[in-house]
Symmetry: C2
Subunit: 130 residues, 2 copies
DNA sequence: CTGAATCCATCAGGATACTG
DNA sequence: CAGTATCCTGATGGATTCAG
């Protein structure tokens, strides 16, 4: 191992390469809201408002926009029911489910290493301002 | 399994919770440039210009700023040598190395699922504009 | 309830020029 | 070489209001 372009071919598709289309894809998934939304939808299919409740702190506008774009990228599926009042449910697609583990891992990292990160941050700020 | 707060305790540190400090942390790591930089540094310690060359498309300013913040979060270590011309090398800290696998996984995902994503995008755009 | 539309503040990030 | 300092633009994202 392991520069990842060793024997499978396609060395041109490398996120380090600026022109690589996977860059666009990475920009979409390596994102705070994407991560949190995919994590929230990992457990269960949710309707708009439930989702908004779980993903605390997100505005309706941003949730809508992010969901639209995730839908466009084939990561989330949108199910609208012609009822009154309207009901719209969101769930991960098969593709989206393959993304759950990596993003959940990222969320876990953030949760598990909080202390170390905060200590590092305090130490750094001391070094700089102190 | 597995809502992850099952038996280890600390259910309050959940990225879904807006006030959770891990949010800040997640925002820092779930980011395009962070992912690419950590991936680039995963293989080897690099000096500024080498890094800038590998992380194609990043401006000097953004690279500097991102590295500073990663240093502050304890993810990257900066080694400056008092030489002329100056030499500064960056490498992942121990903490940063624990972040490599999750972010590399995200990069791999982007590279491996490019085709599916692009197909989904085309289909979506057809549905909308067509 | 879902979400489109609008307005507005903030910020990410690029270009350029300059310094030790 | 490795930055810092400015300036500037477009994107991000929050708040609010309105509509189906």
């Amino acid at each position: 191992m392991d520069t990842a372009e060793s024997e499978t071919g396609d060395p041109q598709w490398d996120v380090l390469v600026a022109t690589c289309p996977s860059r666009t894809s990475l920009a979409r998934i390596a994102n705070k809201w994407t991560a949190i939304i995919v994590i929230a939808l990992g457990a269960e299919r949710l309707r708009f408002t439930e989702l908004r409740t779980r993903v605390q702190g997100i505005s309706g506008k941003v949730l809508t926009e992010t969901l639209r774009d995730l839908e466009r990228h084939g990561i989330v599926a949108r199910h609208a029911y012609a009822e009154i009042p309207p009901r719209v449910e969101y769930e991960l697609t098969d593709l989206g489910r393959t993304l759950f583990a990596p993003l959940r891992a990222l969320g876990d990292w953030a949760e598990q290493h909080i202390d170390e990160v905060e200590r590092a941050r305090d130490a750094y700020d001391d070094r700089v301002s102190g």
